[in-house]
């Protein structure tokens, strides 16, 4: 087969899986929330409410689309588009598994292995805020604008700590390619052993970057009605909400690839699995690890209360940023004295 065609198929599969997982994340989150609050959760549509996401999707499409007359029409539509686009673009560099051999041809379960994979990821994440900013501003509503402004300052603040946490990771791994990072963890320990502090900083920043509780101030309903998406209705609102779930899924994949060995699992070369079967088991383990982190996102949301805005800024600039710098410094010292330079 043509390699370009294979890539196209992989892109389609990744796209479909991402959307499917994001759809069912909404159901999962409501079920977990219900469990944590001693409720039943959605149970009307289908067995255990499994068709609830479909019902929600139909509802979203059927609702009347309202574009406020005082809004900036083009930018109002552009906002959710950018949110969705950047959310979907991040999945490109994630390695989903090892090599798959079909009809004598070997190909990687990854859309593309960029040699600047981490930078690509970081760049796309830093663009994600434009969707929220443009959407919030174009709504011509003060609550939307406040939400957009909160989102932008929050993302800029936490991007710095996140970037510095990644710098320490790049120091120990010596590569910017996600595939190489994952393969190195097959040979040695998972990176969490070398970068525990970096992992914690990255995790906290991932919560802030995806606008999830306890950092969901851009859509803080007690102060800002709906935050940046106050004026949105129908599927445009759906895009904003959906992008958040995709971001959550992709963040979990990135955390697993960076710090928890990606698709590798312990003793994978000792149990006698080979070829395609090993790859499938690896992908299964990858999804298992990712599921845990997606669950962790829900778990935190229903456990911790929301931060106040000054607390959020203090945490970002006065705690996480110095900690990340200390982390880089200590990592450098250890690498120098153990001769791993």
């Amino acid at each position: 087969m043509d390699p370009l065609l294979i890539k196209a198929i992989i892109v389609l599969i990744v796209f479909a899986i991402t959307l499917l997982v994001a759809t069912y994340s909404t159901w999962g989150e409501r079920k977990v929330a219900a469990f944590l609050q001693d409720r039943v959760g959605p149970d009307r549509a289908g067995p255990a409410g499994l068709f609830q996401p479909l019902a929600d999707a139909v509802k979203m499409f059927m609702k009347e689309e309202i574009i406020p007359s005082v809004s900036n029409k083009w930018l109002f539509v552009l906002g959710p588009c950018i949110s969705m686009l950047t959310a979907l673009m991040t999945g490109v560099v994630i390695p989903w598994g090892g090599e798959l051999t079909i009809a004598g041809q070997t190909f990687d379960l990854q859309i593309v292995d960029l040699n600047i994979g981490i930078l690509y990821l970081f760049g796309v994440v830093s663009l994600g805020v434009y969707g929220i900013m443009i959407g919030g501003w174009a709504s011509n509503n003060k609550y939307s604008l406040l939400g957009a402004i909160r989102a932008s300052s929050q993302m800029i603040s936490y991007e710095i700590a996140m970037g510095l946490a990644i710098v320490a990771l790049v120091m120990t791994t010596g590569t910017l390619s996600l595939k190489e990072i994952v393969q190195q963890q097959d040979a040695g320990f998972a990176n969490i052993v070398y970068q525990p502090l970096g992992f914690i900083i990255f995790l906290i920043c991932a919560f802030a970057e995806t606008n999830r509780a306890p950092f969901d101030l851009p859509e803080c309903e007690t102060e800002l009605i709906g935050g940046y998406h106050t004026e949105y209705s129908s599927m445009k609102l759906g895009f904003f909400l959906f992008a958040e779930y995709i971001n959550m899924f992709v963040s979990s994949m990135v955390i697993v690839s960076f710090y928890f060995g990606g698709y590798n699992f312990p003793f994978q070369h000792e149990i006698g699995l080979e070829g395609n079967i090993l790859t499938f088991v690896q992908t299964g383990f990858f999804f298992l690890k990712v599921s845990f982190f997606v669950f962790f996102f829900w778990w935190v949301r229903w456990t911790l209360p929301r931060f106040r805005y000054d607390q959020l800024m203090n945490l970002g600039w006065k705690v996480l940023l110095p900690l990340a710098l200390v982390n880089i410094f200590v990592t450098g010292l250890i690498m120098y004295f153990t001769g791993n330079l």
Binding site: N115, Y130, W137, E159
Partner: protein, 166 residues
């Protein structure tokens, strides 16, 4: 023409058009958004010159961070026609003269410059490994000095933004 050339022309057109729109847009928010498109087009040029690292850093720093701050500030300013500051005529004339002088300098420098020679080993010249090698071996001192310059700029910005500093 091959595909690279088509992409080059498209990116150049996009960069120039959006750069002009930055100047001609009435709404400052539009100007910022057009400037972001310009940055993307230039990042595309970097990729064409096989400088992926530079392209990625360009997007992260300019489009991802600096322009977000620009947009942030402009949204806060709430600019519209009524509150637009009108400059005095003599200031406008001074600005035009200064710009003209700058243009003369630029034209002179471009005219005197020789056409750049293509580098023999062009492939992979902009990769992280090559760039890091040059930056941390050949140009280590200028690199460190420029980082101190950035640090002093940061300290200066913090100092200026503190209102009640004694």
């Amino acid at each position: 023409m091959n595909i690279t050339q088509y992409i080059f022309w498209f990116l150049s057109f996009l960069a120039l058009l959006s750069a002009l729109m930055v100047v001609f847009s009435k709404n400052p928010v539009y100007s910022v958004l057009y400037l972001i498109i310009t940055f993307f087009a230039i990042a595309g040029h970097y990729v064409l010159m096989s400088a992926q690292f530079l392209a990625a850093v360009h997007i992260i720093v300019y489009a991802g961070a600096i322009m977000v701050l620009f947009l942030y500030t402009i949204m806060m300013l709430n600019l519209n026609k009524e509150t637009e500051p009108q400059k005095k005529t003599y200031i406008q004339i001074i600005a035009i003269v200064a710009l003209g002088l700058l243009m003369v300098t630029m034209i002179g420098s471009i005219k005197g410059a020789e056409a750049a020679q293509p580098i023999a080993d062009a492939a992979g010249i902009g990769t992280v490994e090559k760039l890091g090698d040059v930056l941390f071996n050949k140009f280590l001192l200028p690199f460190e000095v420029s980082s101190i310059l950035f640090l002093s700029a940061m300290v200066g910005a913090v100092y200026l933004s503190k209102k009640n500093l004694q």
